[in-house]
């Protein structure tokens, strides 16, 4: 795995121009997650529609490496305006990819997030890619359980 294979262009693009960055109102719930091994941190807010079935906004802020920032950005782009159920499905597929040590082929449904397949080969960096996804799942769980 070359460095270019790990940091694919789509990852670098999202790192340089992150989607959804900056915390916004209104939101149904938020979660703050820290990668304790490196100190990177992210706050993620989710807003739902009146029925609680669709995600109307994901906003976030934080500091971290290109992997964690790009991964958060791709999630924000792909999950916003989607259904809660679809996001949870996507989340499960992403977890499977990231825990696959590079031996799991990415589900095309993941969209741009397939680019993290290379990162999955580096156990020390898997947490970076998952930081925003875990925070978003946490916020989503809170938002839906409040209803």
């Amino acid at each position: 795995m070359s460095i270019e294979g790990m940091y694919q262009e789509v990852i670098l693009d999202h790192h340089r121009n992150p989607v959804g960055k900056g915390l916004r109102e209104p939101f149904a719930a938020q979660a703050h997650h820290i990668n304790t091994s490196c100190g990177d941190e992210l706050t993620v807010r989710v807003a739902l529609d009146a029925a609680g079935e669709s995600i109307t906004d994901i906003s976030w802020d934080g500091q971290g490496c290109a992997i964690s920032m790009a991964s958060m950005s791709i999630l924000a782009e792909s999950a916003t305006a989607g259904s809660v159920a679809a996001e949870r499905e996507l989340h499960a597929k992403f977890l499977e990819l990231m825990h696959g040590r590079g031996e799991v082929s990415a589900d095309p449904a993941l969209g741009e997030a397939v680019a993290f397949g290379g990162v999955a080969q580096f156990p020390a960096r898997v947490k970076c890619a998952l930081l925003g996804w875990m925070a978003a799942a946490d916020a989503l769980d809170q938002a839906t359980s409040q209803r």
């Binding site: 460095i3 990177d40 290109a66 960096r125």
Partner: protein
């Protein structure tokens, strides 16, 4: 200082340095501040102990037990002499972290026993109104145990601050330390900033008020000629695995009368002098702090590491390692966008921390890893220091006896590659 040996000449003693990494690049190991590599002499000493002398030291009277005891105690004497100390002052622990926790727990134990009417040395008894003084630059191992001790006893934790440029505000001691200060604890050499602290000032502040001065010597003992009894410390800790020795062994050094006054923490076999069902009395130090069958092979391996360093000569080890660190710090500071995170008045002993504008340390580390270069990235177990410096994390390159100037140059090329890749 003339270095009578070259890193090139001793690299053959460290087989791991011959490795090729997953990208195909040869290993450039610049993470010795986290843990050093081990020479064959250390590996052979451990193996020889297990192959020829292994038995439980200080137990039994058969020949092997005698030999194991002899090997273990000779190792203690060697390691003690390496830091200018006596064997009776040199306690083996599981790690330097364990040593620091043991000391903090001893204060808590003395405080509890005192509250129950048992006579204790008042220096170890803490309560409300007393204070513990550390620095904002400490490794978590020399911070969190004191936070816990403060919470248990009601003492107040205070700290010497660090300026955003990495300067340790030693002058703060004047306002922080008072007659109720019981503990002052600091690193000898910072594991992040890389420079030496003005430990004479910390020792003097402690002495002036009768506080115990505790020194974290983890990053100094591997690279500097250190005579612990001359540092002004009452207690000091260091770890074997950072000084070319094996993992699993730490040292707690103490002045004789301080170790005598310090209550036991862990108890059990081989640390007692007399036991009845009601109570026990304990052996003098170091035995009173070493319950259980000790880490014999690790001690023997660490003694071999001390011998190895002694044969190189600690003054020339210092000259070699600090020259590499200075070369790295000076050249990194010249690279565009690179900031060396070090106190301006404290040149690096071994470790050089830096950041690159606009690029996260993890991403720098990944490119360096791709070039076979092993550095540490992150907060280096010094999270409060990161906040004081105003950075989320740093990249840290740290050097040892086996590193070369060409490895420093490889680091510089790779850092520049990383900066170009991400910006």
């Amino acid at each position: 200082m003339t270095v009578a040996w070259t890193a090139q000449g001793i690299r053959e003693d460290f087989p791991i340095l011959g490795r090729t990494m997953r990208s195909g690049a040869p290993l450039v190991y610049l993470d010795s501040a986290a843990t050093s590599q081990k020479p064959l002499q250390v590996l052979h000493a451990e193996r020889d102990f297990y192959e020829r002398h292994n038995a439980a030291a200080h137990r039994g009277s058969h020949q092997l037990a005698e030999e194991a005891t002899e090997a273990f105690e000779v190792a203690r004497s060697t390691i003690a002499a390496f830091v200018g100390a006596a064997a009776s002052q040199t306690v083996f622990t599981r790690s330097a972290t364990d040593s620091l926790n043991m000391v903090a727990h001893a204060f808590a134990a003395a405080t509890m026993l005192h509250a129950r009417g048992r006579e204790q040395d008042s220096r170890f008894v803490l309560g409300e109104g007393d204070s513990i003084v550390v620095t904002e630059a400490e490794h978590h191992a020399n911070l969190v145990p004191w936070q816990e001790l403060a919470a248990k006893t009601g003492a107040e934790l205070r700290w010497v601050g660090v300026d955003p440029d990495g300067r340790i505000r030693t002058e703060d001691l004047a306002s922080l330390v008072d007659a109720r200060t019981k503990v002052i604890s600091c690193a000898h050499v910072s594991n992040v900033l890389g420079g030496t602290l003005d430990i004479a000032a910390f020792a003097a502040a402690a002495r002036a008020v009768g506080a115990l001065f505790i020194l974290d010597a983890c990053q100094s003992v591997p690279h500097l000629p250190v005579r612990l009894p001359d540092t002004g410390a009452d207690l000091a800790v260091f770890s074997a695995h950072k000084m070319l020795g094996p993992t699993g062994l730490g040292v707690l050094w103490g002045r004789d009368e301080v170790l005598a006054a310090m209550p036991v923490v862990d108890t059990g076999g081989s640390m007692i002098s007399h036991v009845t069902m009601q109570e026990s009395t304990y052996l003098p130090a170091p035995a009173k702090f070493e319950p259980g069958v000790p880490s014999m092979a690790q001690a023997v391996g660490t003694a071999a590491a001390a011998d190895y360093l002694t044969s190189l000569g600690m003054p020339s080890v210092h000259a070699h390692v600090s020259a590499l660190a200075a070369r790295a710090a000076d050249a990194l500071a010249q690279l565009p966008g690179v900031r060396v995170q070090a106190a301006p008045d404290a040149p690096p002993v071994s470790a050089v921390s830096f950041t690159v504008d606009g690029v996260h340390p993890h991403d720098i580390g990944q490119v360096l890893d791709d070039d076979g270069i092993a550095v540490r990235v992150g907060h280096h177990c010094a999270w409060p220091l990161m906040r004081a410096l105003g950075v989320p994390a740093t990249v840290r390159a740290s050097f040892s006896v086996y590193n070369t100037e060409s490895e420093v140059d490889a680091l510089l090329v790779s850092v520049e590659r990383a900066r170009r890749f991400f910006t």
